[in-house]
C-alpha cells in the first residue's frame, strides 16, 4: 500500500547524521578559529558601515539639505530605503512564525538565520527613518509621553503609527529569536572550551538544563510568540503602506496597498535570505542542512509572492483606468512612459519577469541562477518603493511644481552604510551564534518523532543528546 515517495518527500537533512553529529557540526563553526578571510570580510563590511555612519554624521551636522531632495520630492532614498529594509525584515518572521504554525518542518534549517536578518534589517530601517527626521536627537518627540506642556503626538498621522508598528515588530522579533536560541546557547555553553565564552553563553542561556519542564515551558512560550508574531508580519507592512494610502495622492491612495505591501515584503525578504544563505551554505559548508529541497521551496515562495506583487501591479493599472479618474490614469501612464519609466521597467523586469524562471523544477534547483535572480529581486523591490515614491511626487498637481530627483553622494553613502551594518551584524551572528537551530534540526531527524514509521536509524534512535523529540 505504501509508496516509495522519494521525490515527494525528500529528506530534510542529508547524510543521516546522528544528533551528536548535528551538535558537533554546527557548534564547530563557533568553536573554529577566526580565519583571516573572515577578518578581512568583516573589515570590509565594517568600513562600509563606518562610511555610512560618516555620511549620517555629515547629514546631521549639515542638515537634510545635504540630500538631493527638492520641493516636489520631499521623500527620496530615505523612505525608499526604510521601506526596503523593513520589507526585508519580513521573511524571517514569516519563516519562524507562520511556517511554524503551518508545521512546515523545512523551516528549521533556515529560520535562525532568516530571523537574525529580520532583526538586522529592522535596525537598518530604523537608522533610515531616524535620519530622515532631520533632527534625530529629538527622536523621543515621536513617542507619546506625559509632559508638562501637554504636547502629544498626532495620533492620526500614519508616521506615528509607524513608530509603534516598527518598534513592536522589532521587540517581538528579537524576543522570539532569543527564546528560540536558548536551548542552543545552552548547547554551546556545554560545548565551547574557552572559559570566557562558557561564561557568556552560560549567562545568555538563562540556566537552561534541558529538563522536560524546561522544554515544556519553552514549547508554550515559543508557540505563543509565534502566534503573536503572525499578525505582526501582516500589520507592520500594512501600517507602512498606510504612510502612502491614507494620503490622497494618485498612485499612493489605493485599497490594495496593505496586502500588496505585505506580499512584496515577503518576496523581498525571501530574496535577501536566499542571497545570503547561498553564500553561507557554501562557506560554512551547510549543504547537509540547507539542501536543494529548501532552496526549491524558497524559490516557490518567491514565485508565488512575485506573482502576488504582479497581480497588485495589474490591479492598480486596471483600476486606474476603470476608475475614470484623470489623475490616477495619468500617473500610471507617467510611470510607464514618464521621467521615471526606467525605474518602473527595472521594477517590472526584476519583480515580475525574472522570477518566472522558477516555474521549472530544474531552474529552481540551479544555484547560480537562483543567486542571480535573488539579487534581481532585491534590486526590483528597491525600485518598487522608489517608483511609488518618486513618480507620484515628481509631478505635483500644478505643472509649476514639477521636478526631478537624483540622490547626492550622501544618500548613496548612507544606503551603502546600511548594507555595511546589515552584513557586519550578519557576519558576527554567523560566527558567534549557531547559524542553524540545533535543537530544531534534531527534531526532524529520522527517528526523532515518536510516530515516525519509516527509516528508523539505530544510531539516531539511540542517541539521547537532548529531549528534542518533545519539539513536535
Amino acid at each position: 500500500m505504501m509508496h516509495e515517495l522519494e521525490p515527494v518527500r525528500e529528506p530534510l537533512v542529508l547524510g543521516n547524521p546522528s544528533m551528536r553529529d548535528v551538535t558537533a557540526r554546527i557548534a564547530s563553526i563557533v568553536e573554529s578559529k577566526i580565519s583571516l578571510k573572515y577578518l578581512l570580510t568583516l573589515g570590509f563590511t565594517a568600513t562600509m558601515a563606518a562610511w555610512g555612519l560618516f555620511a549620517l554624521y555629515y547629514t546631521i551636522t549639515t542638515g537634510i539639505g545635504a540630500w538631493g531632495l527638492n520641493n516636489p520630492i520631499g521623500w527620496g532614498w530615505d523612505i525608499t530605503n526604510f521601506v526596503f529594509w523593513i520589507g526585508i525584515g519580513h521573511a524571517g518572521t514569516l519563516i519562524s512564525a507562520i511556517l511554524f504554525l503551518w508545521r512546515q518542518k523545512w523551516r528549521t534549517a533556515i529560520n535562525r538565520s532568516a530571523e537574525a536578518m529580520t532583526i538586522f534589517a529592522v535596525i537598518c530601517a530604523l537608522t533610515m527613518v531616524l535620519s530622515h527626521t532631520g533632527r534625530p536627537w529629538l527622536f523621543y518627540w515621536l513617542l507619546p509621553y506625559p509632559n508638562q506642556m501637554q504636547m502629544w503626538i498626532n495620533f492620526r498621522s500614519p508616521l506615528a503609527w509607524d513608530v509603534f508598528a516598527v518598534n513592536t515588530y522589532f521587540t517581538v522579533s528579537a524576543l522570539f529569536w532569543f527564546v528560540g536560541l536558548i536551548p542552543d546557547l545552552a548547547t554551546l555553553r556545554n560545548y565551547v572550551r574557552s572559559e570566557i565564552a562558557k561564561k557568556i553563553y552560560g549567562v545568555l542561556s538563562l540556566g537552561w538544563t534541558g529538563s522536560t519542564r524546561h522544554w515544556h515551558h519553552y514549547e508554550i512560550a515559543y508557540m505563543i510568540l509565534a502566534g503573536i508574531s503572525t499578525p505582526l508580519v501582516l500589520s507592520v507592512h500594512s501600517v507602512v503602506s498606510f504612510d502612502f494610502t491614507v494620503g490622497i495622492m494618485p498612485g499612493w491612495h489605493t485599497t490594495i496597498f496593505p496586502p500588496y505591501f505585505v506580499a512584496g515584503a515577503i518576496f523581498s525578504g525571501f530574496a535577501m535570505v536566499m542571497t545570503l544563505l547561498i553564500i553561507a551554505r557554501e562557506i560554512l559548508d551547510l549543504k547537509q542542512f540547507i539542501t536543494l529541497k529548501h532552496l526549491d521551496n524558497m524559490n516557490k515562495i518567491m514565485l508565488a509572492t512575485g506573482m502576488m506583487v504582479g497581480y497588485a501591479y495589474g490591479m492598480e493599472f486596471f483600476i486606474a483606468w476603470y476608475s475614470g479618474s484623470d489623475w490616477e490614469n495619468w500617473i500610471f501612464q507617467n510611470r510607464l512612459f514618464g521621467d521615471y519609466a526606467w525605474a518602473y521597467w527595472t521594477m517590472v523586469t526584476c519583480n515580475v519577469v525574472s522570477p518566472q524562471v522558477f516555474w521549472f523544477r530544474k531552474l529552481r534547483r540551479n544555484i547560480p541562477l537562483m543567486f542571480v535572480i535573488s539579487i534581481f529581486i532585491n534590486i526590483g523591490m528597491w525600485f518598487e518603493r522608489f517608483t511609488i515614491i518618486a513618480t507620484t511626487l515628481h509631478h505635483d498637481f500644478l505643472p509649476a511644481s514639477w521636478g526631478y530627483y537624483s540622490p547626492t553622494w550622501v544618500e548613496i553613502s548612507i544606503f551603502i552604510g546600511t548594507f555595511g551594518i546589515f552584513l557586519t551584524l550578519f557576519l558576527l551572528f554567523a560566527k558567534f551564534v549557531p547559524v542553524i537551530a540545533i535543537a530544531e534540526i534534531k527534531s526532524i531527524l529520522p527517528g526523532a518523532q515518536p510516530a515516525h514509521h519509516h527509516g528508523h536509524d539505530e544510531h539516531a534512535a539511540t542517541s539521547s543528546t537532548t529531549s528534542a523529540e518533545v519539539h513536535s
Partner: protein, 404 residues
C-alpha cells in the same frame, strides 16, 4: 484501499431530499418575490437571484481552488478530506447555464439591476469612460471565459484526483496535479477577481476598489472552509469517514477557519479604513450609503459575526477539537458571508430603483435557498457516483497518522 461509497447511505439521501425541498421552496419564493414586488419585482428577483448565484458559484469554484492548493503544497494532512471539497464542485459545469437569467436581465433595459446597461448610462460621464469594459457584449464574453476556464479546472484538477481512485500503484494522475496545480491556482486568482468585478463591483458602476478581488476571495475561501468543516464533521459522525478523519483534521480545519476569518477582517478593514481616511467622494459613495438608512446594522453585524465571533470561538487550542464549537463557528461564518453579500448587493439595488431605505426581507432568502438546494442535490449526486475519500492518494497514509 477500497473505495468509500456512501451514495446509498441515509445521510446522502437526506442531503438530496433537503436539496430538492430547498430548491422547490427557493423557486416558489422567487416567483413570489416577482409577483409581490409590484413595479420593481423583476429587479428584486434578479438581485436575490444574483445573491444566490454569486454565493454558490464563488464557493463551488473556491472548492476547486482548495483542491488545487493541496496539490500545489503537496499537503499530506488534507489528502483524506480533499475529496469532500472536490465533491462540492458539482455546480461548476452549470455556472454558465445559471448565468443566463442575469444576462437576459441586462437586456430588459428599464429593469436591469446593472445601472451601466441603462440608457442613462450612455450620457453618464463616468460610466462612459468605462464603456470599453462595461458593455453587454464584453460582459457576456468574460462570463463565458470564466465559465469555460472553471470547467477546464474542474476537468483537470478534480478529474485527476478522481482518476487516481482507479489504482494505487500508478500515481500518474496525482503527479499531473502536482505539476499543473500552480497554473490553475493562477487562473482561479484572476477569474475570481474579474468575476467579482463584473457581478458585484459593477453594480455600483461609479465605484472602484483595487482590493475588491482579494475581498471576494477572502469571503469565499473562509466560507468554503466552513462548509468543508461541517461536511467533515457530519460524515465522520455518521460513521462514514471514521477510518480517515481524526481529531487532528478538526483541529487544522479550525485553524484555517480562524486564520481566514481574520484574513477577511484584515482585507475588509484595509478597504474600509483607506477609503474612510482619505474621504474622497468617488470612493466614499459605497460606504456612505451602506452606513446609513439601516444598512449600518449590517456593517456592525458583519464585524461581530465575520470577525469577532469566529475569533473568540476558535482562538483556544482545545476548542478546535470540539464539534459543537467548531460547528457553531462554521455556521456563524456562513451566515456572515451571506450577510456580507446582501450588504454588497442590496444597497446597490436600492439606488437602481430609487429606494432610499433598507431593502431587506424574506425575499432575500429565496435566491440563496434555490441555489443552496441545487448545490446540495449536485453534491449528493457526486457522492452517489464516486468514492467519498481519495483512498488511493499517495499521501493518504500521512493524513491518517499525523499530529496537528
Amino acid at each position: 484501499m477500497s473505495h468509500v461509497n456512501i451514495g446509498s447511505s441515509p445521510f446522502i439521501a437526506k442531503l438530496q431530499r433537503n436539496g430538492f425541498i430547498l430548491t422547490a421552496l427557493g423557486a416558489l419564493g422567487m416567483a413570489a418575490v416577482y409577483f409581490t414586488g409590484g413595479e420593481h419585482g423583476l429587479e428584486r428577483l434578479m438581485a436575490d437571484y444574483l445573491i444566490g448565484f454569486w454565493l454558490i458559484t464563488g464557493i463551488s469554484v473556491t472548492m476547486m481552488f482548495f483542491s488545487a492548493l493541496q496539490y500545489l503544497a503537496r499537503a499530506g494532512w488534507s489528502s483524506s478530506i480533499r475529496r469532500i471539497a472536490e465533491n462540492f464542485t458539482g455546480f461548476v459545469p452549470f455556472i454558465l447555464v445559471a448565468a443566463i437569467p442575469i444576462i437576459l436581465n441586462m437586456f430588459s433595459h428599464h429593469h436591469s439591476i446593472y445601472e451601466w446597461t441603462h440608457e442613462s448610462a450612455a450620457t453618464d460621464p463616468i460610466i462612459m469612460k468605462k464603456a470599453a469594459y462595461l458593455n453587454e457584449t464584453f460582459f457576456i464574453v468574460r462570463l463565458a471565459i470564466y465559465g469555460l476556464l472553471w470547467f477546464g479546472m474542474l476537468r483537470f484538477v478534480v478529474g485527476n484526483s478522481l482518476k487516481q481512485d482507479a489504482s494505487a500503484d500508478d500515481i500518474t494522475p496525482t503527479r499531473r496535479n502536482w505539476k499543473r496545480a500552480a497554473p490553475w491556482v493562477l487562473v482561479y486568482a484572476l477569474t475570481i477577481t474579474f468575476c467579482s468585478f463584473d457581478l458585484l463591483m459593477s453594480l455600483e458602476p461609479h465605484w472602484f476598489s483595487t482590493i475588491w478581488g482579494v475581498y471576494a476571495f477572502a469571503g469565499n475561501f473562509v466560507s468554503a472552509l466552513a462548509i468543508i468543516t461541517l461536511m467533515t464533521i457530519a460524515l465522520r459522525k455518521s460513521g462514514h469517514l471514521a477510518k480517515y478523519v481524526t481529531d487532528e483534521h478538526y483541529h487544522d480545519l479550525g485553524k484555517l477557519m480562524f486564520a481566514f476569518s481574520v484574513f477577511w477582517a484584515y482585507i475588509a478593514f484595509s478597504q474600509y479604513f483607506i477609503i474612510w481616511y482619505a474621504n474622497l467622494p468617488e470612493e466614499t459613495i459605497y460606504f456612505t450609503f451602506r452606513t446609513a438608512n439601516g444598512w449600518q446594522w449590517f456593517g456592525i453585524v458583519l464585524v461581530l459575526l465575520h470577525f469577532i465571533m469566529p475569533f473568540a470561538l476558535l482562538l483556544r487550542q482545545d476548542v478546535k477539537r470540539k464539534i459543537t464549537m467548531l460547528k457553531t463557528a462554521a455556521y456563524v461564518i456562513l451566515l456572515s458571508h451571506f450577510i456580507d453579500v446582501i450588504w454588497i448587493v442590496m444597497p446597490a439595488i436600492s439606488k437602481v430603483i430609487k429606494h432610499d431605505g433598507i431593502l431587506f426581507g424574506w425575499q432575500e432568502f429565496t435566491g440563496v435557498m434555490f441555489f443552496a438546494g441545487v448545490f446540495c442535490i449536485l453534491t449528493a449526486r457526486n457522492y452517489m457516483k464516486r468514492s467519498a475519500v481519495a483512498v488511493n492518494d499517495p499521501l493518504v497514509h500521512e493524513a491518517l497518522e499525523y499530529t496537528s
